[in-house]
Symmetry: C2
Subunit: 139 residues, 2 copies
DNA sequence: CAAGACTTGCAAACGATTTGCATTTTTGCT
DNA sequence: AGCAAAAATGCAAATCGTTTGCAAGTCTTG
């Protein structure tokens, strides 16, 4: 998604593409893994951006559907850019904390079963995995 | 799991089955849905149990594998008893917040794909669903 | 270019959870 | 049972991530 698109996306919600937002978006799209607000703040090159601004912008980006909030059982949330055509989950190593993407996802296959079982429609889900990475196996 | 078993379970970890723990366990096993520390505290009938004690005990029960911590994108965590032979996820209504169990789970089917993709073993996962419950559909 | 809408920095507030410490309860042994 | 050691508890204070009020700054749109 180009910078142009995110501007449109934001404008559609009466939100503007500010310097801080542009940077946060760049940082998120360039990252291999979901980042914490603190990590994002640390990587900002624009001067004097307040942590509160990072939080506010993450929420704004989340509200317009550009960013996803991820919980990996840590004391904070992580955030990642939602890139079109990708449905991504993650797996975190229980030993070293390394995080990798999981592109295979079978959750949608559960929709029918859920519908039958509880009558709920399945609109969204949250799937994060924990395991042991190659480096940590057999230690 | 009977009270006897949980005592054994705890003793195996040098932990005792105290009055507060017994009650918390009872509350959790009797609940239809995962509860927040605050809800658990509110349901305690033993006198003068401090919130800190609830937190400490939830952690203790989690550490020995009796309780699972659940994140439903709220401002707090929820906890539920891990009953043998049950692998349960949840679906929360995006409209009214109602929570139901989801017993069908296909995540283990992903283990092979994950192994091939990233080399990780899949030890545990975290799957919570969001949708719309029958009552809220068509509103 | 002006008026209103949206953003920001800063400091203070918040809410959930954790911790230090002195006291009480439970355990393990005799 | 009786007791010393270990673990748990209440209470208050502290932490930590995150949110909010407010005044000042920046954008947008006509």
């Amino acid at each position: 998604m180009a910078a142009m698109d995110i501007a449109d996306h934001l404008h559609g919600h009466r939100k503007s593409l500010t310097r801080a937002r542009t940077e946060i978006w760049r940082i998120l799209t360039q990252s291999e893994k979901p980042l914490s607000p603190k990590e994002i703040h640390r990587r900002l090159t624009v001067h004097k951006v307040d942590p509160a601004t990072v939080y506010r912008n993450l929420r704004a980006l989340k509200d317009v559907g550009l960013v996803r909030e991820i919980d990996l059982r840590e004391t904070f949330k992580r955030y990642e850019a939602i890139l079109p055509g990708r449905h991504v989950h993650h797996i975190m190593c229980q030993v070293c904390g390394r995080i990798e993407k999981v592109r295979h996802c079978v959750v949608q296959d559960m929709a029918d079963a859920i519908q039958k079982e509880s009558g709920f429609t399945l609109e969204d889900h949250y799937l994060e995995c924990f395991g042991i990475c190659p480096n940590c196996q057999g230690i």
